[in-house]
Symmetry: C2
Subunit: 285 residues, 2 copies
């Protein structure tokens, strides 16, 4: 098991297992690869394995039982498969292996965790991504400066939690412990809603003749408009209650602003932007 | 008057007047400054003049009549002041001076132009900006690669239109001629709506404890959330009909998606993202 050698700040040898070799799994491999660590990966798709190897995301591809025997295992498979993959890993792994996942909605995963009561499991979610999926776009720097949300259960062992925190920090991310419900409420606003709005923006511009004549705001706001439909269907359906709530909130705010414009209420329009500016300043403080 | 010396591709000396020395006016000055050109600026605010001078956006600050006597004049004052500033410039200028503006909504400006029937006037709108205003953030590169929408009237002289196109190209922008109604319909979707959505996103995140734990999509989508409230009130109110239309469209799309989530209609959610992805691919082609 990898540990910091006292007084040296050096991390000793560690084996990391990565289940699911897409953008996130591939980036975990790249972010952790070092001569002192062995990264072993598994994916049900031979193409994904080949891509992860060609990008040097892993030291080797191995069967699931070998990957599950690593010191720390990251399950980074598509959201709907995560509880099943975790179950398989827990059936194969030795007792000391610490396991975490990367699902961007935690409700289903944590329902599985509640039934399992596993001291070696910690839920996780890196707040980083890319508008394109697959190990092809994996980057060793993807998690640098990003928060990595952790959702331990009441059965999670303190040492297991500390180990996941440590490995997350090795990737340059900042671990933040958060409750499951709070997590799903939070990501509905800061991640799922932005992806929905980007998609709506792209959709509305579909029939414009001069869509190429857009400025930086349009480019920024539609960067994530082309994300993988199946992945994002899983994410939104997995967090449907919270997403529906923020969609209704958004509809109400837009209808308010529309009403202000229709009755030419300049003060209400100004207030809309003033309040947003305060919120933006607060958020970036 | 600046002209290309035949066969050399060199632009000869030209005087450019800039009325309104904020982000756009300041950037026009920086983008055009060269030993062979003289940039003279005017702003009703002494602070704005001082800032533009300290950033070297202009060669000199001058009274409006001197600025109006330049070869080409850009009116880049706040949207609601543009028709009045244009009127003043036209009362002061010599016949040969070509005048354009930078208002991001063209309806009011072009109503003024319709009454004036001036052959030396061409409406304009650079599709570039910054989340912060003022000459402090002006940049010589702001317009590089950006489209610069032009709305000539039926009275616009062909030589005047050619002159504005030429100067716009000198700044690295690409001139695109567009009708007034089409312009305002277009910017409602590609510029005004993105700014509104950014503001709503920032607003909804106001009370989240972990708003700092957001990923790149949230950062991108809220970049323009803190724009200047008075400026954006003028823009939205000036284009209220078109903005109200795209807000209603957006509300309808969000309500559709919310309905699909509420009845767990995975196919409808997937279709939402697939259609957006196609739109995004089409827009970036």
């Amino acid at each position: 098991m990898g540990r910091s050698a006292p007084g040296t700040g050096q991390t000793m040898s560690m084996t990391v297992g990565v289940v699911g070799l897409g953008l996130i799994g591939g980036s975990i491999g790249l972010a952790l690869r070092e001569p002192s660590r062995r990264i072993i990966g598994f994916d049900v798709s031979p193409e994904a394995c080949k891509e992860a190897q060609s990008r040097a995301c892993v030291d080797e591809i191995a069967p699931l039982d070998a990957v599950a025997a690593a010191d720390v295992v990251f399950v980074a498979s598509p959201p709907v498969t995560v509880p099943e993959m975790l179950e398989q890993v827990f059936q194969l792994k030795p007792p000391e292996t610490v396991v975490t996942d990367c699902a961007s909605v935690k409700a289903a995963v944590m329902r599985w965790a509640e039934t399992r009561k596993e001291p070696q499991f910690v839920g996780g979610h890196p707040m980083a991504g890319h508008e394109r999926g697959g190990a092809k776009y994996a980057s060793a720097w993807l998690f640098r400066g990003a928060r990595w949300l952790l959702t331990p259960t009441r059965w999670t062992d303190a040492a297991a939690k500390a180990r996941v925190r440590e490995v997350v920090k090795l990737m340059g991310a900042e671990p933040v412990v958060i409750g499951v419900k709070e997590h799903d409420r939070h990501v509905a606003t800061v991640s799922h809603l932005p992806h929905v709005l980007a998609a709506v923006l792209a959709e509305l511009a579909k029939d414009l003749e001069h869509v190429d004549a857009a400025g930086g705001s349009w480019r920024d706001l539609t960067r994530v408009a082309g994300v993988e439909p199946e992945l994002w269907t899983q994410i939104l359906v997995g967090n449907s209650e919270q997403v529906a709530r923020v969609l209704a909130d958004t509809e109400a705010r837009l209808a308010d602003l529309r009403g202000a414009l229709e009755r030419e209420d300049r003060n209400a329009v100004r207030e809309f932007f003033m309040s947003a500016r305060q919120a933006k300043v607060k958020a970036t403080r």
